[in-house]
């Protein structure tokens, strides 16, 4: 298994955001991390990215704590922000400095594929900024991609472009974890769906298993989380 979380708990004051979560994700899977608002999806992704530390339990990426394996993790935060003055050239330079596995030529290809204009972030719309940061994240050659709501707040056409970019970027030696509310649109790319409720995993099933049960991911979402 590439990623292992065992009995992970994370609290914020009196609120338990993630409660004894155990999860194992193999290489080569696209995993949908699904749940209603406040289910603990973003906290789980930050724990996997090493941006938060668990109060209890362990998170391991290839046997190492995420903070020590930072070079293998590409994380796109939900409120993805970057310096407003940054343009494409500056972003390529900055991401190249921050991440040794950043591929500038792939970044430019992804920008073209996602139809992102070549101007500064300050002059971009919300959807264009989201695609710009997604392109920068996917342009890394990481082992684990953590994408927090990459489809949130963007129009249908943009969603299709983002999903197409994700499919084109798939590699069998990497794992992709997406949290999203747009279950119906994204379910076609999921190999596995992990349903979370109140900080716990209530169901983890492969798309194939769901199909055998005669359910789509969206139907399972309604059944499990309603």
């Amino acid at each position: 298994m590439l990623v292992e979380m065992s009995e992970v708990t994370r609290r914020f004051g009196g609120t338990v955001a993630v409660d004894g979560l155990t999860l194992a994700l193999p290489e080569g899977e696209v995993v949908g991390l699904l749940g209603t608002n406040g289910a603990g999806k973003s906290t789980t992704l930050k724990l996997l990215a090493g941006l938060l530390y668990p109060d209890a339990g362990e998170v391991r990426l290839d046997g190492a704590p995420p903070r020590r394996a930072r070079g293998a993790i590409a994380f796109l935060p939900e409120r993805g922000q970057m310096y407003e003055w940054l343009d494409v050239k500056g972003a390529a330079g900055l991401f190249g400095t921050l991440y040794p596995d950043f591929r500038p030529e792939r970044f430019h290809e992804l920008l073209g594929q996602l139809e992102v204009p070549r101007r500064s972030l300050a002059q971009m719309s919300k959807g264009q900024r989201a695609r710009f940061l997604l392109a920068a994240t996917l342009a890394r050659k990481a082992r684990l991609y953590l994408l927090d709501e990459p489809l949130g707040g963007v129009d249908l056409i943009t969603r299709d472009r983002i999903l197409a970019a994700l499919v084109s970027e798939w590699r069998e030696d990497a794992t992709y974890v997406l949290s999203t509310h747009e279950v119906a649109e994204a379910e076609g790319i999921f190999d596995r769906a992990v349903f979370m409720k109140e900080g716990r995993v209530v169901l983890s099933a492969s798309a194939e298993e769901l199909r055998e049960r005669g359910q789509s991911v969206a139907q399972a979402f309604r059944e499990v989380l309603a």
């Binding site: 938060l52 930072r70 590409a74 409120r79 922000q81 500056g90």
Partner: protein, 258 residues
């Protein structure tokens, strides 16, 4: 774009402000020298330097705070970078020291020029020594302290309770600073010392003070009081800076992004 140029780009307004401040001040003093009042201008230069002395404390803190003041988003990309905390903190500290080094060098250079025009003579090593002394004993620890505070505020976003602790810690830091200064002077006298420099004032000043018709040498006046200048504060400043930078690097490595 490397981390150093990133910081430079982020803080161009602040740096530009400092440049403007020095330019306006230098132009004002140049007018005084050109108009034939170099001695009065020197008095004004030293007076204004004293008046803006609190700025000497404030500027490193403001700059350091700005260097670590991040909006929520970019920090996530910086924290997830496999580059070491030392690289990130080093880039910020390096830029801060460069900016403030040039700033204080410009202040020292302008005063040196006005003093030369006013006929004040002194040892050639005095201006660079003053600059280095100020930078190492005063500016570098303040900058490092500001970096630690800035990182704590940016990464941990302390609540009201944490802010009260920070204010108390600031007051404690001032007391600690005084204690360290006294400790350095009382117990570290074995460290190398600098000679008292020759600073010869123009004859007009001596006549004005009713002392003599020859230039007054401050070295002669000061020698009965002290035989040399201790460098202990400089070494203590250096140690404190390194300790604070080690704290900042550790904080960077451990910081959370909620």
């Amino acid at each position: 774009m490397n981390l150093f140029t990133l910081e430079l780009r982020k803080h161009r307004l602040l740096i530009g402000g400092l440049v403007l401040l020095v330019l306006v001040w230098a132009a004002w003093l140049t007018r005084g020298v050109v108009n034939g009042d170099p001695l009065i201008t020197l008095g004004l230069a030293l007076g204004t330097l004293l008046a803006i002395a609190p700025l000497g404390v404030l500027v490193p803190i403001v700059l350091a705070r700005a260097l670590f003041g991040e909006a929520g988003g970019p920090l996530a990309f910086l924290f997830t970078s496999p580059r070491s905390g030392l690289t990130h903190v080093g880039a910020r500290m390096g830029l801060g020291l460069l900016v403030l080094g040039v700033y204080y060098a410009a202040l020292t250079g302008v005063v040196h020029w006005v003093a030369a025009a006013a006929g004040v003579r002194y040892d050639a090593w005095l201006p660079p020594a003053l600059w280095a002394y100020g930078l190492l004993a005063w500016v570098a620890p303040l900058l490092a302290l500001g970096l630690v505070y800035g990182l704590v505020v940016s990464a941990y976003r302390p609540g009201r309770g944490g802010q009260i602790v920070a204010v108390a810690a600031s007051a404690g830091a001032v007391a600690l600073w005084q204690w360290m200064g006294r400790f350095a002077l009382d117990h570290l006298s074995f460290l190398p010392r600098l000679p008292i420099p020759h600073v010869v004032l123009p004859e007009e000043v001596s006549r004005l003070l009713g002392l003599s018709n020859v230039g007054l040498d401050l070295k002669t006046a000061l020698e009965p009081l002290m035989s040399s200048v201790p460098t202990a504060p400089l070494w203590v400043g250096l140690l404190v800076t390194l300790a604070l930078l080690a704290v900042a690097v550790r904080l960077w490595e451990e910081a959370e992004w909620a």
